[in-house]
Every structure is written in C-alpha cells, then in structure tokens.
Symmetry: C2
Subunit: 209 residues, 2 copies
C-alpha cells in the first residue's frame, strides 16, 4: 500500500473549469497518479455513488488505488479500496468497524495528538496538512515542516503530505521523505492534466523520492 500512496490525487469538481470530471480524472490516471480519493463535499448520495462507481472502474483500469472521502456506505457499495476521513467525519475506529480489517483507512491530521490517536484508532496512513496555503480547502490549518517531522518520528504508518503542494515547493517534503504527495489543484487546474501528472510522476517517483 505504501508505494501506491506516492502521487495521491484528491478530486474537486469545482475547479475543473467546466471540463468533464471523468475525463480529467482519467487523464490524471493515464499520467500516472497512483491513488485517487473521491472527495465531493457538496454531492448528494445518488450523484456521489454514480461518481464512485465510475471512478472505481477507472482506477481499476489504471491499477490505481481508490479511496472514498467520508461516505463509508458508498465505499462499501462500490468496493473501494478504502475510506479517508477528516476530524469532523465519522471517527476512525467507527469507520474501521464498518470496513473491516482489509480495507485502507486514511485520516487527516494536523497535530501530533491527532496523528497518534488516528494511528491507535486503526488508521493505515495519515494525511498531514495543510503544508502550504491552499485555495481548495480554505479552512485548513497550517502544519509546519517541523510538526510534520514530529509526526513522522512518532507514528509508524505512512504519511501523505497535503495542502498547496506545487512542483516548486515540494523540495522540503522530499527531504522529509514523506510517503505520498497529495495534490488537488496542482494537477486538476492544469491545462493539460495528463502531461502535468507525468511531470509530477517524473519529479517524485522516477527521481526516487
């Protein structure tokens, strides 16, 4: 699972400049993202489920992992590889009760305390951020590189950095040796999503980060 976290795409339907959602995600998959999280905070269940079925197919086609944000019921229905929850979603230990031992559980954390708790509650990986300022999650609190390093030292599960990651600001993360780089707008607002994904793959996978 750890290797598959490397280039982690989180979806956001609102930033696609009117382009087709599935085409955008498929372009990112073709380009090489290794895992996709369907994150649709405004979607009602029917539409969310439709998107989840489609992305389940697409991620399988490109041998990527597929994670559902928040809605465990939808993750179960489409047989996603896992669920990702934030601190205001269903608590991790409750999610684990529903998804069983074999599915992946990711938890967003901003503090060492949250990280340790998530680990103890059964998280398989942590999303840590926002590392940099981000326009796609305006309420996200900043997590310093030092705090990220503290969390890495204290928690023995993979860590995915998220929040404002761009090609020109991730050098610090490479030094930290994080397990994954989560991107939203860096890829989804690119004019050429396929090529942009390939550039990211080259930057953080092919260079052996």
């Amino acid at each position: 699972m750890r290797d598959k976290l490397k280039l982690y795409l989180v979806t956001d339907s609102d930033i696609l400049k009117g382009r087709d959602f599935y085409k955008c995600v498929e372009d990112a998959l073709k380009g090489g993202v290794t895992i996709v999280q369907l994150r649709e905070k405004k979607c009602l269940g029917k539409e969310f489920l439709e998107k989840a079925y489609r992305l389940r197919e697409l991620t399988k086609k490109y041998n990527a992992l597929f994670i559902i944000n928040d809605r465990v019921d939808i993750a179960l229905l489409v047989d996603a590889d896992g669920v990702h929850v934030g601190q205001k979603d269903i608590p991790a230990f409750e999610v684990r009760r529903l998804i069983g031992k074999n599915k992946i559980l990711g938890v967003s954390t901003r503090t060492l305390e949250e990280a340790v708790k998530a680990r103890n509650d059964g998280a398989d990986y942590l999303g840590v951020g926002a590392i940099f300022a981000t326009n796609t999650k305006l309420d996200a609190e900043h997590v310093s590189i030092n705090k990220l390093k503290d969390i890495q030292k204290s928690v023995d599960i993979p860590i995915v950095a998220i929040g404002g990651l761009k090609l020109d600001n991730i050098d610090m993360l490479k030094e930290c040796n994080v397990d994954g780089y989560a991107v939203v707008s860096a890829i989804l607002t690119a004019d050429d999503i396929y090529n942009e994904s390939k550039v990211w793959v080259n930057e953080i996978i092919n260079k052996g980060c």
Copy 2:
C-alpha cells in the same frame, strides 16, 4: 411496523429557536411520537453520529422506531431501525444491499412512477409529499390529494404523508386513511413540544385514524 408509523417526527435542528436538540426530541417522544427520523442535511459525519447515538438511546427509552436519513453508514453504526432516502440520495435497492432484509427502508416519493419504483426496489414504506406548502423543505414539490390516492391504490406498502401537515389541514388525510403523519415544524416549533405531541396523538391515534 405499520402501526409505528402513525406519528412520525422528522428532526430539523434549525427550527428549534435555540432550544436543546435532545430535550426537544425527548419532549416529542414523551408526548407520544411513534417514530423519529434523524434528518440533518448540514451535519458532518462526527456530529451526525453523535446525534444518532443519542437519539438511538432516546427512541429505545420511549419504545419508538428510529430511522436515519440518507447516511446508511451511520444507521449501521448505531443500529437504527432503518434508513430513509430521498430521490437524490443513494438509491433504495443499494441501501437494501447494505442494511439487509430486516431493517426498515423508507423512500420519499412525489409521483406514482417513483412510488412503484421504490416499492419494487425494496421500500418498506413511502413518504409522500409535500402534501401542503412547507417552510422546512423549500424545494419540495406539491403532491395533490388525488395523486396521493393514486399512489395508495397502486402500491401495497404503508404510506406516510409529509409536508406542511398541521392540525387544521389533516382532515383530508384522515379520509385517505394514510398510515402515518410526518411532521417537522408542527411539533418542533411548538412552544410546548410535549403538549403539542400529545394533541397530535389524540387527534390521529386516539381517535382511531
């Protein structure tokens, strides 16, 4: 189950005039509502789950049924008696896959077509409305009494009328012999929720409607 649908309270945290959510629901249960649906469209998962656990306890205490709107995952976690979905939520047959045969499945319908489909997809009861104009669901389309009767003739499962029901407008529903009367503001905006519920119980249960 049919008998328990009679006085059906749907929650709405936004209309409680600052009063305590649990106290309001407990007052309604004390007064005699027979079933409570937790409907919290704005709540994130953690808060929704907390409310669900508390209402699960309260409904057990008063021997009422407990239904969760939309979030099947939360219904499963708190062992609610069932799930209620609208036309924009997870489709009924998918909900049934998750909840199994024994839990109650309710579906909101406005047309004969939707009603027949919901029945065929495994619904145990239908919520039909909005029968009258309502302030708690502004996008609700109107369902005439004639359409309600058409649905009753065509679908052999219990029908709960919803939408703007008040003590002074339910006579037509009594004539239709609906199985349940779903209320939101009629009870939850009352100054004395306990007494208001008792008045409703007297009106639609004790009088043998």
